[in-house]
């Protein structure tokens, strides 16, 4: 029995089952729709954290620009919803009906060319994944083929997050500026603002998250996953063994970005708007922190970390807004200094050995009792 629990693979599956139970059964029963919607929002960040487990925890690529991909996915979805919400009938008071309201306010009279394809839902679904993945491919190919890595990659992705925010805010007529794309109403004629729709979207989000976690686990347990870990630990040796390291890194970075983008699209659907405040440097680093708190090597840990940190943030900032930044800052420092493997590391390094020690001790005791019958005879 102890072996069954302490076996790493079984442990992970138990974790998956517990997470599924928590988000699919316990939370929907325990929370009202407002709180559940909040949890749904947190879960969309968990997509990013899962992506970070892949590219940071297992491959050693720290990206400080995951918010960019989250945002790209979210914006793709938001553009579709916005076009649907601004049908000529809905926008007939504008000087040019049929285009989104913020374009009308910015004296743009024609739908920009890159908005036009987003009238089609299948195109949008593909774009949600393809646009960020393509972007990630261009970036990572340019970087990793030139062997730019580690700290330099982190700083450059951070600069890109800054560029992206400035661009979105600056190009108000095309992007909605600092307010983002707001007032989203329906998805293919289905009102997404009702409570029923929110419940359904929550469950869709959960299922997508569980699906992504299984996909990520599949990648990590495959042979590819082992090469990725080798790249993280000793990149040069993998290169000398004849692997093209850059290709592996590009692949995993694109995968992580695509996963982050799915999160962004689910975010837009559940929260009902998308704005540059989820794209920039601060949200990107916060997402790294969620992952670090939960455990950068563990998929389950990353999801739990995201839920806990966000829940703490909501709780804290409701009652003590001043203390929140102190608490958050202290948390980062504590995580990095005291338990770099995060909560998941605490479980696997401290709790499991403790449990198995207890179990083996009790088994030893019972074996001893069996082996030596009472000497009274």
């Amino acid at each position: 029995m102890p072996a069954a629990i302490t076996n790493k693979r079984n442990l992970e599956l138990i974790g998956f089952a517990l997470i599924a139970l928590l988000i699919l059964v316990v939370l929907p029963l325990a929370l009202d729709i407002f709180r559940l919607n909040l949890v749904g929002k947190y879960l969309t960040y968990a997509f990013v954290a899962v992506g970070l487990v892949l590219c940071w925890g297992h491959t050693g690529i720290l990206s400080l620009g995951q918010g960019v991909f989250f945002g790209l996915g979210g914006y793709c979805m938001a553009m579709f919803l916005k076009l649907e919400a601004s049908s000529p009938a809905n926008t007939k008071i504008q000087s040019t009906p049929g285009i989104p309201d913020f374009m009308d306010w910015n004296q743009i009279t024609e739908l920009p060319f890159f908005w036009v394809p987003f009238k089609s839902f299948p195109f949008t679904l593909i774009a949600v994944i393809a646009v960020p993945a393509f972007f990630a491919f261009v970036l990572s190919a340019a970087m990793f083929k030139r062997r730019v890595g580690g700290v330099y990659f982190a700083i450059i992705t951070q600069a890109l997050a800054a560029v992206m925010t400035i661009l979105i805010i600056g190009q108000q007529g095309y992007t909605g500026g600092i307010n983002g794309i707001t007032d989203l109403r329906t998805l293919l004629g289905w009102d997404i603002r009702t409570d029923g729709a929110k419940y359904i979207l929550y469950f869709v989000c959960c299922l997508c998250l569980l699906g992504t976690m299984f996909l990520a686990r599949f990648v990590l347990t495959s042979k590819l996953g082992r090469i990725l870990v080798a790249v993280r630990d000793k990149e040069d040796r993998v290169r000398f063994s004849g692997y093209d390291v850059a290709n592996f890194k590009i692949f995993i970075f694109c995968l992580a970005s695509a996963i982050a983008a799915i999160g962004g699209a689910m975010f837009t659907l559940q929260v009902g708007f998308m704005s540059p405040s989820f794209v920039g440097i601060v949200p990107s680093i916060e997402m790294v922190i969620f992952c670090a708190v939960g455990g950068r090597h563990s998929l389950v840990g990353a999801v739990v970390g995201t839920l806990l940190v966000n829940w703490g943030k909501t709780l804290f900032s409701e009652s003590f807004p001043e203390l929140w930044l102190f608490a958050m800052g202290g948390l980062f420092i504590a995580v990095v200094l005291a338990f770099p493997r995060g909560l998941a590391g605490l479980v696997t390094d401290q709790m499991i050995p403790f449990i198995s020690k207890l179990m083996s001790r009790s088994r030893a005791a019972s074996e001893q009792a069996n082996a030596q019958p009472a000497p009274a005879e």
């Binding site: 400080l64 062997r147 700083i155 805010i169 202290g330 420092i333 770099p340």
Partner: protein, 308 residues
């Protein structure tokens, strides 16, 4: 985009923009100097560097208030006292942070990034609790205000000139320290080969601590200079941190000359483009150009030849 300007007007536009670019260059350089010696020597990414700068700015603000209230006669000289205080306070905090936090993380550069980001959050909130969320500005002494007319169409601000002079002096001091002092020799040895420096008897930990303290102290002075050209708020440091990092990375992390060259390139292109495009587009274009150039020269403009 050049339409509507005469050649003469264009000339003065470029001169004015080049001058404001030089002021930007001075602030970039002052911030990047501290960051470059920390990042170049220790490999530590100090995300709280902007907050050390803001600490210096707040120190200047406090000093100016104290001088205004208690010794108004000496007000015209308060700035020099303020710089010294900013240097000492930021440097001392830097030493403390190194001792408490950074020295435990030398083997994990990406983790220093997270830990110092946490530190920067704490510092921001501390500023907000102590000084309030609103931006504060300092009163400049009379001799620093006004501008000098160079030609009919070109003026230069005196405070800008002062900031540039200050930058020259501090860069000179850092260069002297690095290339003429015993400590500088040790720093350069540690950068080139940390293990071997330790083996020949250099106390690498002590060198690291001094470097970190000095870097943070210079950030404090940068903040002090910053108060003369802009106002200071709790989150102002974050606005500059990305630019500063790019300056350092673009210049080549271990090269003083590279830092100067890249600060000049970035600030000049930013301020020249700013005139013809909107400010935000100028920034986007500048950052993209730098990222593009980094792909061509991943190690930065000036590479230190090191055998690893």
């Amino acid at each position: 985009m050049f339409g509507g300007f005469t050649l003469e007007e264009l000339g003065s536009i470029f001169a004015m923009q080049a001058f404001s670019g030089l002021i930007l260059f001075s602030v970039f350089l002052l911030m990047a100097l501290g960051l470059a010696i920390i990042f170049g020597q220790m490999g530590v990414i100090n995300m709280a560097h902007g907050e050390f700068m803001i600490l210096g700015a707040y120190m200047t603000y406090l000093t100016s208030n104290v001088f205004e209230q208690y010794v108004p006669l000496l007000f015209s000289a308060y700035f020099f006292v303020a710089m010294a205080i900013a240097f000492v306070v930021s440097g001392a905090l830097g030493l403390a942070v190194e001792w408490l936090l950074i020295r435990r993380l030398y083997a994990r550069p990406l983790d220093t990034l997270l830990a110092t980001w946490g530190l920067s959050l704490i510092m921001q909130q501390a500023f907000r609790s102590i000084f309030g969320a609103r931006e504060v500005g300092v009163q400049l002494p009379n001799w620093m205000m006004g501008s000098l007319p160079v030609t009919d169409t070109i003026d230069v601000q005196i405070n800008g000139l002062f900031v540039m002079g200050l930058t020259l002096v501090i860069t000179g001091i850092v260069a002297l320290l690095l290339f003429r002092s015993r400590w500088g020799l040790q720093v350069r040895a540690v950068v080139t080969n940390r293990t071997m420096s330790g083996a020949v008897g250099i106390d690498t930990r002590r060198v690291d601590r001094l470097t970190f303290g000095l870097g943070c102290g210079i950030a404090g002075v940068a903040g002090s200079a910053f108060t003369m050209i802009g106002s200071t708020g709790p989150t102002a440091g974050q606005l500059y941190i990305v630019d500063t990092f790019l300056v350092v990375v673009f210049g080549g992390a271990q090269s003083l000359l590279g830092t100067i060259a890249s600060a000049l390139t970035i600030s000049q292109s930013q301020s020249t483009l700013e005139f013809f495009l909107s400010g935000s587009m100028a920034k986007v274009l500048t950052l993209l150009i730098v990222i593009g150039l980094l792909m061509l020269r991943p190690q930065g403009l000036f590479v230190l030849k090191v055998r690893r």
